[in-house]
Symmetry: C2
Subunit: 395 residues, 2 copies
């Protein structure tokens, strides 16, 4: 890089640093900096925004790609991300580690830890869960499974934990029972230590996984007068689903064309194909040809009403569908499908948008909008989005 | 989602949990699981890999997209990422916070903090930098600028710090002097507290920013017999640059088509356009039409020889170039440009690859390979890559 700074140290030593303020101010005024920034400048003396500060005389300027109104869109996006990525610092600091065999598996609120420890084994040999003091006695207590009561195998632990979760279900602590077992591990790729009813996953704050698919349709290239220097595709459209009004969670809200929790027993791609078929009538051959993984988002959420902790990793995919393909509801979980433009997606971020999308779908769609270049990194807040989209554990 | 787990709890209670082992083993054997996994199973009893565990009888299986040899590619990628993302835990724990006006700006090794504090102001009123004990006296000391000596304005702090960095340059502590000033701030979008010679940035461990551009060429669509159900583009090629043999850092190594540090005074897009012109002869109109931002990587690196801390945020872009455009070295920093396939990019990840790419370019290229779907999230290590590509501060 030939830097615009090459002349600067000379400038500083010969023309004195005090002249900086005049030069930068003149530059900034000439760039029609917003009133907000100008006010801030006056308050903070030469505290100019990092990306705007100008100390060189050698630079040719070109228009930066700052889109009008994008600062609001980014703030709206942060609002949406924080609907699912919402673990207050003081709650995070209060969480008790759930650990087995020296490996951290979950995070539990103290009240939930007490509830888990209150359930005795049906064999009468004590509680399944126990709070122990780690060897460095200064540390916080750790929640674990009693090896005496729960044994040390996947089967014995699964059975012992099932007794506890059933008891807490009877007491109304664990709600939304699904009759589905989820594996409990410290990483997606590691074997499970035991299996647990899906409705109890966030009582233990263990990692959950899911797949989310952005269903896309390429726009027809707009005629550019045969200018071969334009290579980028025009903005695509995204297929949206409306959840059935009878669903227990988020009824009637907008959703991804296809999304679902990742159960044990299926590979990610098997799950993608299965969900494509069941939720949107997308045949296996079309899904396999046109879907590709694009990365991951992760977040942690705290539910103060139920003292529960969700720790979620979502595998994201883009699925480019043929123009002549229309998704069809198959399993009754979706009411309708329709296409949205990039602008409609951005508009839907507003906190008061009347027909909102399911919270964690917003996060995946925001990741898509950043990755596909529809949000400028020049705009304040962009790096907050990048950070918050992956603020949960990613293992 | 209609879950394959719906039958599982019944299975568990009626057929007994002990039968799990037989069923899962049979399934795994039928899927020709690798010997490695089988060995691990025997060692750990029913500890099956999370993504392989099978407890349902209702599932239709489709071939997961696991690519042969991808586990090695992912391990190679982690090796490459860790060449720049290498902050050992014990070093991280040792770092002293550099703070101004109560805001954290940098991270400094104790030895470097002592060196910074050893330099007296030329006015004879004490050292510019000082170590202070925070109000909660249990905490570690904090490095800051003496307001008595360095004042409280951007100009006075810049001048005072310039004196210190010049002294440390004379002592051989700060090397590679650039005569370029960088802004010191807690966030890319916030005004700087002061400016500092670029060569001293990692003595204070303050955030640095850069732009990296993946130069891409779309492959011609391979004839698929007029099958309109395939919508995905064939894999693109990537333009690679070879750095000039006379460059002070990484001479002769491979590099991005265009990349550079982000100086104050330019917007990101102005910097992208400038670097495109200077480094590869890409005209402004072609760059502006075809480039788009794709996200960010971040990392922290520790240089044990010099006790220095790099904290880096790189803004990534994809630039799709026309087929008939060939980049040309302009400013003498690049020796040649050539095209690589996705497979060549993957091969170059191997630790013993004879013609390697500059370390932080590897990280940006790996981010591209994941985002564009060339690495499967089924493969163990994928989530480690995602995590480590954004393990630095992102502000």
């Amino acid at each position: 890089m030939r830097s615009p700074w090459k002349v600067t140290m000379i400038t500083l030593t010969t023309l004195h640093i005090a002249s900086l303020r005049r030069k930068t101010s003149a530059f900034l005024v000439s760039r029609s900096i917003s009133n907000q920034v100008m006010n801030r400048m006056h308050k903070q003396q030469l505290c100019l925004p990092h990306s705007k500060l100008f100390l060189s005389t050698t630079t040719k300027t070109t228009a930066p790609k700052i889109v009008a109104g994008e600062e609001k869109v980014i703030q709206d996006m942060l609002y949406r991300i924080r609907q699912c990525n919402n673990m207050p610092d003081e709650i995070r600091a209060s969480l008790i580690i759930f650990e087995l065999d020296g490996v951290r598996l979950g995070k539990v609120r103290p009240k939930m830890a007490d509830l888990l420890c209150s359930v005795e084994s049906p064999r009468g040999n004590g509680p399944v869960f126990e709070l122990i003091q780690p060897s460095d006695s200064a540390g916080s207590p750790i929640l674990t499974l009693s090896s005496k009561v729960a044994g040390t195998t996947v089967e014995s632990r699964t059975e012992a934990v099932a007794h506890v979760t059933n008891e807490l279900r009877q007491q109304g602590v664990i709600t939304g029972w699904r009759d589905e077992l989820f594996p409990v591990s410290d990483s997606f790729y590691n074997p499970p230590w035991f299996l647990i009813e899906r409705a109890a996953v966030n009582s233990l704050g263990v990692l959950e996984y899911g797949v989310h698919i952005n269903g896309l349709v390429k726009a027809e290239p707009s005629g550019n007068g045969g200018d071969s220097s334009t290579v980028m595709d025009p903005p695509p459209l995204m297929w949206m689903a409306r959840r059935s009004a009878t669903k227990s969670k988020f009824p009637g809200m907008l959703d991804h064309i296809v999304a679902g929790g990742q159960p044990a027993g299926l590979s990610l791609m098997e799950n993608v194909v299965k969900e494509c078929e069941e939720e949107a009538g997308i045949p296996e051959d079309i899904a396999l040809r046109n879907v590709h993984p694009t990365g991951v988002i992760s977040y942690e959420a705290y539910d103060p009403k139920r003292e529960k902790v969700s720790r979620v990793v979502l595998f994201n995919y883009d699925l480019y569908l043929p123009h002549d393909f229309v998704p069809t509801p198959v399993d009754g979980e979706v009411e309708e499908f329709f296409l949205w433009s990039i602008d409609e997606l951005k508009d839907s971020m507003a906190p008061d948008y009347p027909d909102p999308i399911k919270p964690n779908c917003y996060a995946v769609i925001i990741e898509f909008l950043l990755r596909a270049g529809f949000i400028s990194p020049e705009t304040p807040g962009y790096l907050d989005i990048v950070r918050e989209l992956r603020s949960g554990d990613c293992r």
